[in-house]
Amino acid sequence: MKDLRWRAALVLAVFVVALVYLLPTLGEELPEWWIKFFPDKKINLGLDLQGGMHLVLEVESDKAVENTVERFAQEMKGEMGTAHIRFRLIERQGRDGVRLLLPKEQDWQQVADLLKNKFPLLKVKDRTLVQDQVEVLLRIEESQVSHIKKLAVDQGLETIRNRIDQFGVSEPDIRTQGQNRILIQLPGIKDPQRAIDLIGKTALLEFKLVDEQHSVAEAEKGRVPAGDKIYYSRKVDPVTGQVRRSAYLLKDRTLMTGEYLTNAEVRIDSQYNRPYVALSFDDRGGKLFEKITGENVKKRLAIVLDDNVYSAPVIRDRISGGNAIIEGQFTMDEAKDLAVVLRAGSLPAPVQILEERTVGQSLGRDSIRKGLISMAVGGVLVVIFMVVYYGGSGIIADLALILNIVLIMAALAGFGATLTLPGIAGIILTIGMAVDANVLIFERVREELRLGKTPRAALDTGYSRATWTIVDANVTTLIAAVVLLQFGTGPVKGFAITLSLGIAASMFTAIFGTRLLFDYLLQKRRMKTLSI
């Protein structure tokens, strides 16, 4: 008797705790005092159910190494100039090397000192004398290379997080995955394409001079003057959607980048009612910009963003005060997004989309609806069947089944696990398989009753014989579920979670829970016959 009371208390306690965890998901608004003392987490819905975007990006971190080395090479030219050392050539070689040609051998010692002081990351790998000139090969060490790569991924993550925060997405999930990947999950996003554009822009802002001595047309035919490069501007016709490209011949040397930006915001041109982006630089940037514009009055300065020329205005006068503007034929949204990416800073290396999965909100809602309908239909079929086939015992099995579903849901809410569409399928499958335990027990009990045993004895034998079989028949499904949990991705993981929860819960409800009800009926109610 006492034993019965304890078991009843346990089942009841489990049921109540489960309901407490489940309530936030079921209820609309919870009272203040509830939130204070009790869990208020709703079940997390996967992106396939609430709609949203899943992105896996790869940071081309080799590019970050290249950029660093390229910058070293540029800086080296400057340093050699200030130190009055003559050099024939300084260029990046491969991903992580710099090639140096010196006309005079006796300069070498001076160069070596300079390298040691100013460029400690570069190590001399090779030095050869070729017809009076010294050829030096410098390389960044492997450990530094991986450091730069890691930094690029971390910075990329940070920049993307900034951009998304400014774009305004609730509960974004952004993290690194593996060595050079970034995983982004944006639930409930309305305009996925805009988000992709925003996230994926390298946003490298450069100011370069237009080469007005040479003709663009000649350069396009393949005769590009030394130190120049062809860039294009892209203009999309808002009506036809056609893209017009026009070529610019720019000096390859970058005068200034966007690293000195402190702010970028959208303003409206009062004359044409067109949006433009206003930039402000910090002190150093302001001075640099002043120097550049002062030295190049009457020349054209191109504003290049991610290798696209946005505009190339003529510098009328020296510009002081650290402000500049970017004009172009923007729509309001484009201008806003451009300001966002400029404010958030540029990515240290370009990113590529490796995987994208976007589900519209309406499809997500549709999936929930269809999932719930199939769950209801399947559940009702099973419940009715059990009652018809096993009578009173069927009702007990059905109660256990309902408790089982409550437990799965509560566990999902409690553990903060994510419910996906395959996860709903897992619950549906559990409904079908959970009654298996009771079918096994009931069939066994029927056999024992046929042998002439009393209901009580039949139940005892039935439960004890069937329990072991049930437990380890479930082990095989559990093995599959656990392996899936390990190797599955998003939705499949959701399936593995509900399936394992369902199996675990069914052992409790179908064996322990139903036994309790039978014992209660037989002992307390002194039931003589078994409806089975």
Binding site: D48, Q193, R357, S367, V377, D472, V483
Partner: protein, 355 residues
């Protein structure tokens, strides 16, 4: 209520020749379909590519959509009606996986709306898997199958005889065997086959007849389900692999219950032919087998019919798997025990029966 009368005695094992032939034919047809379909079996999870699900506001057809895709060079994509009758939903699948930031889905929508009119096309779903991720997912799926098989093989080698030695030998042979083969550089698909072969050989030499029966049954189930997929012109993706692993678990569950009953009846020690005991055990558990498959089948059918297009293939795999899993525990796993006994002579059976 009862469907199956307690005194039922259907001669299942007597029909085993027919059942073997049927299974063999089904497997061969399935394999032929697999080979014929080749790499087109892979969904974009594994092959890489892009799937875009579009909803149109008015009825249309694949040919007209194709027309709309011509300007962006996607008219060679596979276009397929999706979802229920009367729903104007289409799937467009291309091999193109844009890793650059080209606005594929926007371009698609804009182009189609030029043909159909403003705001008539909704992009409901975009799934793009680049080749690198496709390869990763393939690897992941294979590893999942591989580890599941390894664990299950070790589990059942212990489960039926419950002797430590054979199970330990089996586990040792499997682990050493696959580790060795991995060192040699064997790919995962071959490793899976190797693990299966090692399991079968171990079962044979260690005389683990129950484990042998169970493993054969699960290979049988997976082969037939995969074959059915090939025939039904469906594609494999991660959720289907999840379904396959679930089927393995489910089918073993069924087999374990029949086998447990066989061993229980053998222990009772009535002097009977082994085949007779097996057949009686199948009949005794028949009611349970049919009921459980029935309830599982009922819910899976509900999912298959009502669950919507996204989950359709998953439900299909489960549907086939549950039916085949039930069939195999009666007609494949148990008869293998009989074949085993027949080969070793009936002396051992009598000895077992006496003890």
């Amino acid at each position: 209520m009862e469907f199956i009368k307690p005194d039922i005695n259907i001669d299942f094992v007597g029909r085993r020749k027919f059942a073997f032939t049927l299974s063999l034919v089904l497997i061969l047809i399935g394999l032929a379909a697999l080979i014929w379909r080749g790499s087109s079996l892979y969904g974009i999870d594994f092959a890489g590519g892009t799937v875009i699900q579009l909803r149109f506001s008015s009825p249309t057809n694949a040919a007209k959509i194709k027309e709309g895709l011509k300007p962006i060079g996607l008219d060679r994509s596979a276009i397929q009606h999706f979802g229920g009758e009367g729903e104007n939903v289409f799937l467009i699948r291309t091999d193109v996986s844009r890793s650059k930031l080209a606005n594929l889905s926007k371009e698609l929508k804009d182009n189609l709306e030029r043909l159909y009119g403003e705001n008539t096309v909704t992009v409901e779903r975009v799934e793009m898997v680049g080749p690198k991720v496709g390869k990763d997912l393939r690897q992941k799926a294979l590893l999942a199958i591989y580890y599941a098989l390894l664990l299950i093989a070790i589990y059942i080698s212990w489960r039926f005889e419950q002797k430590l030695m054979p199970a330990a030998i089996m586990a040792g042979a499997l682990v050493l065997g696959v580790l060795g083969l991995r060192k040699v550089g064997m790919g995962i698909p071959m490793l899976i086959v190797a693990a299966l072969v090692i399991t079968m050989v171990c079962c044979w030499f260690l005389k683990l007849k129950y484990a042998l029966g169970a493993v054969t049954a699960l290979i049988h189930d997976v082969l037939i389900t995969v074959g059915a997929f090939a025939i039904a012109n469906k594609e494999f993706d991660l959720t289907v692999v999840a379904a396959l692993l679930t089927i393995i678990g489910y089918s073993l569950n069924d087999t374990i219950i029949v086998f447990d009953r066989i061993r229980e009846n053998l222990r009772k020690g009535k002097r009977r032919e082994f085949a007779e005991v097996v057949n009686a055990s199948i009949n005794q558990t028949l009611s349970r087998t049919i009921l459980t498959s029935g309830t599982t089948l009922a819910v899976v059918t509900a999912l298959f019919i009502l669950g919507g297009g996204v989950i359709h293939d998953f439900a299909f795999a489960l549907l086939v798997g549950v039916v085949v899993g039930t069939y195999s525990s009666i007609f494949v796993a148990s008869p293998i025990l009989i074949a085993w006994e027949a080969r070793l002579g009936s002396a051992r059976v009598r000895a077992t029966a006496k003890s």
